[in-house]
């Protein structure tokens, strides 16, 4: 029985990882209780938050998701000392994520690149980083299940699919979306350089309804929110889970994972928004609060049996924090390109992420951002002092004749890229996370000898009359590595099913488990790991 304070399985977090596992368990007949730190809001409210926001603050997608005092998440424009995330080291691990029911897929682009077989054997093939604990063929069926669960569209032409190596055992459930005019032109341009710009496989209903959600109607508003739920986000699953019997607690901030004498997990403790503490018991526990909150919670939960924190006998919890450090080329062209029709990310060059060079430096993935440009160019046009028709014309010209090309880099797991508990406290008195971060020589060398030259070459081929390059590495919000997976319990946190080496009834699935993240966005792999963990949990519960 599920009650307000106990269930077979207790899941902390209501993002995509938590909801796919919850559904597997509910379908297998287990009771599920989910605990969400933040609020539950309607899509209408998020959409209008965004539309009501003045243009000047729209650089920060979080304006659509104001954080609650008890569940802070990064908000733009905060003073460093007031910010939720604290940084040390040469680079800032300045991510955005959302502590809301439904989690950060609320504002993901939906991009769903699989890893390649080579990405998962980085150490064996190139002598750098870590190998995954299993190979691509093991993960492949879970990729297929993810593509069907989330509704991921993609090309049926094998030459346009990613990865090119490694088998695909089932087609995408929906066809790829068409390219915008700018993407068509970009694809032609890079072809002359020998690069193949292929359709993004993406969790978006292309040309048809899927899973009770409507077809994409090209609002070009995927980030910060799909206004019609044509893009998968985990919020779209919540009512279905409740109908299947899940209990969902919101505004409930889990701050401690409690172990028992056998060093199994006995309970989790949370504060409600009135700062009152509650205790939830269960047979099995899943931490699915993202790659930053999971290690924070484990470190906060240290006890006599687990002096480094729960699940941390390896001292790897919070280490190896990864992302896809990105540099942007803002290109002004003579001829119009026109981005903005269709999804905000709709194509990419992935083949530049692969190669023997990976023994020396990172690979990179290049994408032509398909965000409509008017939002980005309007202030520049205003600064020119134009008014009336001249202003309109200039906005139109710049919307057509500017483009962002992004190079997203592969980073290696480095134990010094580390999340620890800051001595600064949040509203509830809980420690804020502090992250020490350095993108590393592997990335920097790539930028110097590989990705920057390629980016410039592409920009020139586009007919650039001006190229502006972002001065530092931007974060891609792909939080990986902090609860890293491995076969060896002495240097990893979770096993091949995302089960904590130290606690047989604790699972920590998601991006934190990824031992290598290559260049593609992490959600599809996080979800595949969640489904794999879900299978293992169902199996384990059979004996419980």
């Amino acid at each position: 029985m599920v009650t307000k304070n106990s269930a077979d399985v207790v899941i902390v977090g209501t993002g995509v990882v938590g909801v796919v596992i919850a559904e597997q368990l509910l379908d297998a007949g287990h009771s599920v209780l989910m605990i969400e730190a933040g609020p539950r809001v309607t899509r209408a409210e998020v959409v209008e938050n965004w539309r009501n926001a003045p243009l000047g603050v729209k650089g920060d997608t979080s304006v659509a998701y104001p954080s609650r005092p008890w569940a802070p998440h990064p908000m733009g424009g905060e003073k460093p000392e007031d910010a939720y995330l604290q940084f040390t080291g040469p680079d800032a691990y300045d991510q955005t994520f959302i502590r809301y029911a439904g989690g950060s897929t609320w504002h993901w682009a939906g991009t769903s690149w699989r890893l390649t077989p080579e990405d998962m054997r980085l150490n064996s093939l190139y002598g750098v980083g870590r190998d995954w604990a299993f190979d691509y063929d093991t993960l492949e069926p879970y990729y297929v299940r993810t593509e069907h669960k989330l509704g991921i569209c993609g090309p049926s032409d094998r030459s346009q699919q990613w990865p090119q190596t490694g088998d695909r055992s089932a087609p995408y459930p929906m066809p790829a979306l068409p390219f915008s005019p700018g993407e068509v032109k970009f694809t032609e341009v890079v072809k002359t350089l020998g690069y193949n710009n292929i359709p993004v496989s993406q969790a978006r209903n292309s040309g048809m309804p899927y899973d009770g959600r409507p077809a994409c109607c090209a609002n070009n508003n995927c980030v910060p929110v799909c206004p019609v739920a044509a893009k998968y986000d985990a919020e779209t699953a919540l009512h279905r889970l409740e109908k299947k019997g899940a209990t969902l607690l919101v505004d409930s901030v889990v701050y401690k994972v409690e172990t028992n004498a056998q060093n199994k997990i006995e309970a989790v403790h949370f504060y409600d928004q009135h700062k009152e503490s509650h205790r939830i018991t269960g047979k099995l526990f899943v931490l699915a609060c993202n790659g930053l909150e999971n290690p924070k919670l484990l470190l906060m939960s240290q006890d006599d049996r687990n002096p480094n924190g729960v699940a941390n006998s390896s001292d790897q919890v919070g280490r190896n924090m990864m992302d896809h450090p990105a540099r942007t080329f803002t290109v002004t062209t003579k001829e119009p390109f026109w981005s903005g029709i269709g999804p905000v990310v709709n194509s990419g060059i992935m083949e530049t992420s692969q190669g023997a060079f990976r023994s020396e430096h990172a690979g990179a993935y290049f994408r032509y951002n398909n965000f409509a440009r008017n939002r980005f160019v309007t202030f520049a046009a205003l600064k020119k002092g134009l008014v009336g028709k001249a202003l309109d014309d200039e906005i139109r010209r710049m919307a057509a004749c500017t483009a962002d090309i992004v190079a997203a880099h592969e980073i290696l797991p480095d134990p010094n890229n580390r999340l620890t508990l800051s001595d600064k406290k949040d509203w509830l008195g809980l420690p804020k996370p502090s992250i020490n971060y350095d993108v590393g020589d592997y990335v920097r060398k790539c930028w110097e000898v590989y990705s920057q030259p390629i980016g410039k070459q592409i920009a020139e081929a586009m007919g650039a009359i001006d190229i502006k390059i972002s001065p530092k590495y931007n974060n891609s919000k792909h939080i990986m590595g902090g609860t890293i997976m491995g076969k060896d319990a002495s240097n990893s946190v979770v096993d091949v099913d995302c089960r904590a080496h130290d606690h047989e009834n604790l699972f920590i699935p998601g991006g934190g488990a990824m031992a290598a993240g290559a260049c593609g966005n992490s959600t599809i792999t996080m979800t595949a790991l969640a489904l794999k963990a879900g299978d293992a949990i169902v199996e384990q519960m059979r004996g419980a």
Partner: protein, 475 residues
């Protein structure tokens, strides 16, 4: 009561005696003819659970004002379907509403319309159902209506009064096309089941044929040739286009049961038959005909929006003020239908002005489209508007106050500005249309020995039972 007894005795005997009847082989041509007629009759719409069920195996829950009716397995399964039916038994089920075992069907099955079918067509349908449909050896869930609705024999009296007993005969004055159209429209296609209002005993009021009626959560509008209230302003080609595609740009689109009729039935009919149906329907006059000219439900309203009143303010504040409807429209509708409700050029997303749904004589379809969305498959596309009711796949689960505000905004801005909607109106549609207190009345009535009440009750049972109790998850 005597009749009933003899029926009950005869039924098992008939089953045994006629069991081998289906052993004969039907020709491929006959089976195909039957398949077409079954499509024209839209059997599959009700006799299939569209949430994963097998074709014709029943199990679709259909809400009626007096309880949920489950459709039956009409595959040739001998154990669970109609595999043991003789042709005569099959004919009686289709045309008279009498089951193989002699029990009466509820008129959720439109046998009142099917009663016009010729013996030749019944023969073809029988051939198809015996040898063109895959038998499904699965028991469909039983219909369990509350007392006294569960007494099927009471339908016999109703049938005596209201069931036609004659098959179609051509009217020699009319063209062949008109006669073919009448045969299909009044029979297989059963237009009047939804589009004709009901009388005291819930019988179709033939004098008001096709002048419109409520079908559960939806309203089947006037489709007579009245130029103002009906579809007299449509050309024959317009009507054929509508039946083929489920929409007529800047005028109307099919939702609810009509979307199903388009998806499963009309779009698959031949052009000749669609033209015939159009020819006949366009000849049906309105008994209500009043004014000769006026603004129709197809050309009311204009583009516009209310954004200046709330944009830039807080969403919650916007919901509290006088412009809540415009705010709800902007948040939930404008992303597809356009900020001015102008729709898209290709018509996939219709404009909300010049649209019968927002400009009818009542607000039922406005409310129902919001709560239930639209789901229509045609050869060209799969039109899907997600629901905003309490379904698990609702994009937003709007409450009654919000739906009322939104409806009033749509009506005032884009449609029939003489109508207003209250939260109570929304609740009625949310529950699947007007509920009846007839069960309670009938129980009291029977205590007093008033048989007439029972008759009334049973009439209500099938009252627009075509409104489906949709599975909440529409995938």
């Amino acid at each position: 009561m005597k009749t009933v007894k003899s029926f009950a005795l005869a039924a098992p005997l008939a089953l045994v005696a006629l069991a081998p009847a289906a052993a004969q082989e039907f020709s491929k041509e006959l089976i195909e003819k039957g398949r077409y007629l079954a499509t024209a009759s839209d059997c599959v719409a009700c006799h299939t659970n569209h949430d994963g069920g097998k074709p014709m195996a029943g199990g679709l829950a259909m809400a009626s004002p007096v309880g949920t009716i489950m459709s039956t397995n009409i595959t040739p399964s001998k154990q669970f379907g109609i595999g043991n039916y003789s042709e005569a038994q099959f004919a009686d089920a289709v045309r008279k509403g009498v089951r193989g075992d002699g029990a009466n069907l509820y008129p959720a099955m439109p046998y009142v319309s099917y009663s016009n079918m010729t013996d030749e067509d019944i023969n073809a349908l029988y051939a198809y159902f015996m040898q063109g449909v895959e038998p499904v050896d699965e028991k469909a869930p039983e219909t369990k209506l509350p007392f006294p609705m569960n007494i099927r024999v009471s339908m016999m009296g109703w049938n005596l009064l209201f069931r036609p007993n004659e098959v179609h005969k051509d009217d020699p004055i009319q063209s062949d096309e008109w006669n073919r159209g009448k045969y299909l429209a009044e029979g297989a296609a059963h237009c009047s089941t939804c589009h004709t209002p009901r009388g005291v005993f819930m019988q179709e009021q033939k004098s008001l044929n096709l002048t419109g009626g409520q079908v559960g959560a939806w309203y089947a509008p006037d489709i007579t040739n009245d130029k103002v209230h009906g579809i007299g302003s449509w050309s024959k080609e317009d009507l054929v286009t509508y039946l083929k595609t489920g929409k007529l740009e800047n005028r109307a689109q099919a939702a609810g049961s009509m979307a199903e009729a388009i998806s499963y039935s009309f779009q698959h009919l031949t052009d000749a038959d669609l033209n015939a149906i159009a020819t006949y329907v366009r000849s049906v006059p309105s008994a209500n005909a009043g004014q000769a000219s006026g603004v129709t439900r197809f050309d009311k309203g204009s583009a516009g929006n209310d954004m200046a009143t709330f944009r830039g303010k807080n969403y919650a504040d916007g919901l509290k003020g006088d412009h809540a409807g415009g705010q709800i429209f902007a948040a939930n509708c404008a992303s597809c239908h356009g900020y001015n409700a102008q729709g898209t050029k290709d018509g996939y997303y219709p404009s909300l002005f010049h649209n019968a749904a927002t400009a009818g004589d009542n607000s039922i379809n406005v409310i129902s489209a919001i709560l239930n969305g639209v789901d229509r498959h045609t050869e060209a596309d799969h039109v899907f508007m997600p629901p905003f009711g309490d379904q698990v796949n609702a994009v937003v689960q709007l409450n009654n106050v919000e739906v009322a505000s939104l409806s009033n905004y749509l009506l005032a801005q884009y449609g029939n500005n003489k109508l207003t909607v209250t939260p109570e109106d929304v609740q009625v549609i949310r529950e699947g249309g007007p509920k009846s207190n007839i069960v309670q009345l009938a129980r009291i009535g029977m205590g007093a020995g008033v048989a007439a009440v029972l008759l009334l009750v049973v009439g209500f049972v099938w009252y627009r039972a075509r409104r489906k109790a949709r599975p909440a998850h529409a995938a």
